[in-house]
Symmetry: C2
Subunit: 127 residues, 2 copies
DNA sequence: ACGGGTCAACGAAAATCTTCGTAACCCATC
DNA sequence: GATGGGTTACGAAGATTTTCGTTGACCCGT
């Protein structure tokens, strides 16, 4: 159970498909990815083989056509990558990161309300 | 003025030093980095040469000992990398990203208060 | 002028990431 | 049981990233 290595861009593209579709075959992943970008079927296959070795995905090989699934939830991976970015580009300051995130893309009123609600919980406020 | 490529990990380590120290010589960057990790002087030099070609840093070669400086502020780079992460791992949802960032244990009580304050301003609350 | 120390440039090796051609395999249908 | 379409396995090439040894230039003190 070693620390999962940070997914590369190509790996992340595949993970995105698996998160959205759920467990999928190579062909299913390929169909989705090939819409946006020209790439070969065996490229996707190879990536999934490597990701399996790295532990990024799990493979169900009980049928002839193997089924691949992510081994971490999207949320877990997001946390991991955020933590990584926090260390490497934000000096560990999550305040700084949050400020930047809120400044970059304007959050809707509902978003802000949701964040406020979360702050209340985090701070353990009494109403 | 092409879109600056996302810095690699090694590049980011150097950028961190330059952001903190300001414009520096190869040796100065090397001294800082070699504290945490064993690496050669020429490794740092080569990295800075490459980063110069990529446009990540700017070089003042008017003296014999060259001075390197970042070509983007830390904030600009942070925005860029956050945007990248947002697309690639968060489906473009900054709300989601902020929530995750707040959910880590790295946000201190003061951080949360500062964010709350910012929310107040963003929502235009009257006191 | 000489020698030791510091410097940037260059090339190349090592490591990692990305892509795909080829082969081997399985199964359904002719 | 041969053929064809779809599958995984394998290896290797190409691209990028990371590392550093070597070389030649430059400077300063003797």
């Amino acid at each position: 159970m070693s620390a999962p290595t940070r997914p590369t861009d190509a790996e992340l593209a595949i993970l995105r498909v698996l998160w959205e579709r759920g467990p999928s075959t190579v062909r299913q992943v390929f169909e989705v990815l090939s819409v946006e970008k020209a790439l070969g079927y065996t490229t996707v296959l190879k990536m999934l083989q490597i990701m399996d070795e790295k532990g990024l995905v799990q493979r169900d090989a009980s049928d002839r056509v193997h089924i691949f699934a992510t081994s971490q939830t999207q949320t877990q991976t997001q946390r991991h990558m955020l933590d990584d970015l926090l260390d490497k580009a934000f000096g560990g300051s999550s305040l700084n990161l949050v400020m930047q995130a809120l400044a970059t893309r304007r959050a809707s009123r509902e978003d802000l309300a949701a964040i406020r609600k979360m702050l209340d919980q985090a701070e353990g406020r009494k109403p």
